[in-house]
């Protein structure tokens, strides 16, 4: 168990405790995961976070990595959303880690959207829950909001079609509640709600209601539509009551449990049970106040060695305190590593 998870997410940090927990976790994975052991054969210990072993995020697309330990029970596999032509990552979910991850996500989100429970409306279809043995990143992200939900409703009849939003159901819920929580992938939230023609009857009932929109998944599709954050937030919040908010968070299925909501000042804050490094892509040296590849670490992952992952996202760590009041490291997310497929003469 992670003792750090008992702390407030953005309270005072104990870096030596973090290093100690992450080191123990690395040894745990070295013992229980043969592939991991082969990747890091000579590792014995770390004096700082940058010396901890890590795995490249892409590895989870090709290898089904699992760490076995007494009592471990793998339940389902979490699949990342993948863009056209790309393989999804597959992360085995074990009971122990899932419990820690749920606590972590709950604590982080409560810091941003407050405690209490309210109806959670998910921009997905209930059918997505019924995949045997697997869970999509979208459903996993939605269900991470469960601790804040008094009831859960799925707003789409077809999970892939934003035009299937059940406005009748939304209208009914607005009649019965003043405070709602809505989760969707960023592009789906925009297409199904933000850019949609909301029926007059529903639009009228939205007026003055307090709605918290939580979204994740990135802006790639909206960039193509030339929708920026201001337009996105403005469309969603139009006509809503005080206290309504749009929370955009960053997270990876390979770092399930730790999410990075954007604070009011444009930064991502790192909870006390997690760490972040930025590395130079060409020599892997840690960077401060300079852009590079993000490495994310957390103390939650027991069944898969994804506690320290070099991502393909670019970021920059900012020094100093954030005006939002959260302490600890913070970073700006700069987007994905620019990608161009390696051109071949053939058809690999």
């Amino acid at each position: 168990m992670s003792a750090l998870l008992e702390c407030a997410p953005y309270g005072p940090r104990d870096e030596s405790a973090l290093l100690s927990e992450l080191s123990q976790l690395s040894h745990h994975h070295l013992e229980g995961c043969p592939e991991y052991r082969r990747v890091w054969p000579g590792w014995v210990g770390a004096r700082r976070l940058a010396e901890l072993p890590w795995l490249h995020v892409g590895l989870f697309k090709y290898l089904n990595l699992k760490t076995t330990f007494p009592g471990v029970q793998f339940e389902r596999t979490l699949n990342s959303s993948s863009t056209t032509g790309n393989r999804p990552s597959q992360i085995a979910l074990d009971q122990t880690s899932s419990a820690l991850q749920a606590r972590s996500t709950g604590a982080i989100l409560r810091d941003f959207i407050g405690g209490g429970q309210r109806p959670l409306l998910v921009l997905d279809s209930a059918a997505s829950l019924r995949m045997r043995g697997a869970v999509s990143a979208r459903i996993a992200a939605a269900l991470s909001l469960k601790p804040m939900a008094s009831e859960i409703h799925f707003l789409l009849t077809d999970s892939t079609d934003p035009a299937t939003l059940r406005w009748d159901l939304l209208g009914d819920l607005l009649d019965r509640h003043d405070d709602l929580l809505v989760y969707g992938f960023t592009w789906m939230l925009w297409l199904a709600w933000g850019a949609a023609s909301i029926p007059e009857a529903v639009s009228a009932r939205l007026n003055g209601k307090r709605i918290t929109f939580v979204h994740s998944g990135g802006w790639k599709r909206l960039d193509a539509l030339r929708v920026d954050r201001a337009a996105f937030d403005g469309a969603l919040l139009r006509g809503l009551g005080p206290g309504s908010a749009v929370i955009d968070y960053y997270g990876l299925v390979e770092q399930v449990g730790v999410i990075y909501p954007l604070c009011a000042h444009g930064f991502r804050h790192v909870p006390v049970w997690a760490g972040v490094l930025v590395r130079d892509p060409f020599n892997l040296r840690p960077l401060l106040e300079a852009p590079g590849q993000l490495q994310l670490l957390n103390t939650l992952a027991r069944g898969v060695p994804c506690h320290s992952v070099l991502t393909e996202d670019l970021g920059i760590i900012r020094a100093g305190d954030c005006p939002c009041g959260r302490s600890g490291p913070r970073f700006e997310l700069l987007g994905r590593v620019p990608k161009a497929e390696l051109r071949g003469c053939a058809n690999a």
Binding site: H56, L63, P281, L284, E312, L342, R343, C345, N347, A348
Partner: protein, 399 residues
Amino acid sequence: MRDVPLGLYAYRGPSGVSAVALALDPEQTVGAWSGLRGHMIRERADAFTRDEWAFLIAFLDPVNLRWPFLSTFGDPLGPVAGRVTALLRPRGAIALWLPNNVSLLGPLLVVLVSLVGSPLRIKAGSRSDDLTTAFLEYARPRLAGVPLGDYLASVACAAFDRGDPRNRRLAEDAQVRLVFGGDAAARSIDELPHPLESSGFAFTDRRSEAWLEPSRVDDDLLLSLLRVFGIYGQTGCTSPRRVVLLGGTPADASQLCNRLTALWPRAHPRPPPVHIASGNQMARQWAAALGWEAVVAGGQGAVFAVGDLDLEPCPAPMLLMVVAATLAQAEAALPANIQTIGHALTDAAHPRWLELLAHTRVRRFVPVARMHHFGPVWDGWAFWRQLFDEVVLDPGVTP
């Protein structure tokens, strides 16, 4: 067939003189491409990398462009004057399907087909850079006013996906279908309605490797190998995915791996794009997880992995595997879809290679430096020859 006036050109082959009907004068076409080459040496089209451009320039060498005629029909004799015993004429319209991660195949095939002069329609990959159109757009204005320019103006190239109805029309209208792509794509194209007497050539997923004998290993050879590998990495069907050190020991293979790693920055001094550098970190870990001893070269441009022949291969794009093996082991471990063996052997002309190749599926056995050289015979098919059909003339015709 009478839409395009055809000239008759004579070639002397082993079985006599053939007349070849061509829409474009072959020497004029070779000359026009050579003229374009002059432009290309001075200015590169933005869509192409330096390596791609250099490869194209080399491909347009007149000696290379005369080779399809020479190897297929024999020595050129000029316009038909004496008795001929065979007539070869273009089969007709050609449809070409290109895969998604192709770079130069489109331009190379445009050049090869232009030598025949048949109408050409191309389906470019829907998820890749369309270098064919880029090449056509570069070449057309620079060849305006010459027959080759008119021909290139007639070449149609469009990008669409596998389900697009235009695939069906391409297949229906073509006398020859050239398909480069994965097995599934080739199968789906083959299933499209097409003229009964048309021909189809599917160039599907292939693998290549380099076979070296320790006595031939020196820095020049290794630099050549690294240049060949560095163009496409494992994504090229003609790129070596594995280097087999014939008759070497595991220690020799390890040493070879170290030399390749050390020489990489000399062969490729420019740093790779960030995503390649990142992908190579992943590749190193992937290979290590599979049991390979892998190291990322300086500059992060490639990964070299040494291990046993029976380890699971690591198909990361810029990772090159190095193994030691006896000839028998190397032969037994050839992949079923082997295409090219790039060799560096003490005696590559020794009859034992012929004996070995006779019972393998190897399609090309060429020096390492020539592994990427594309030509009129590919994947075991004399496909360029098959762009023509043949009329038997008995007892021959004298114009």
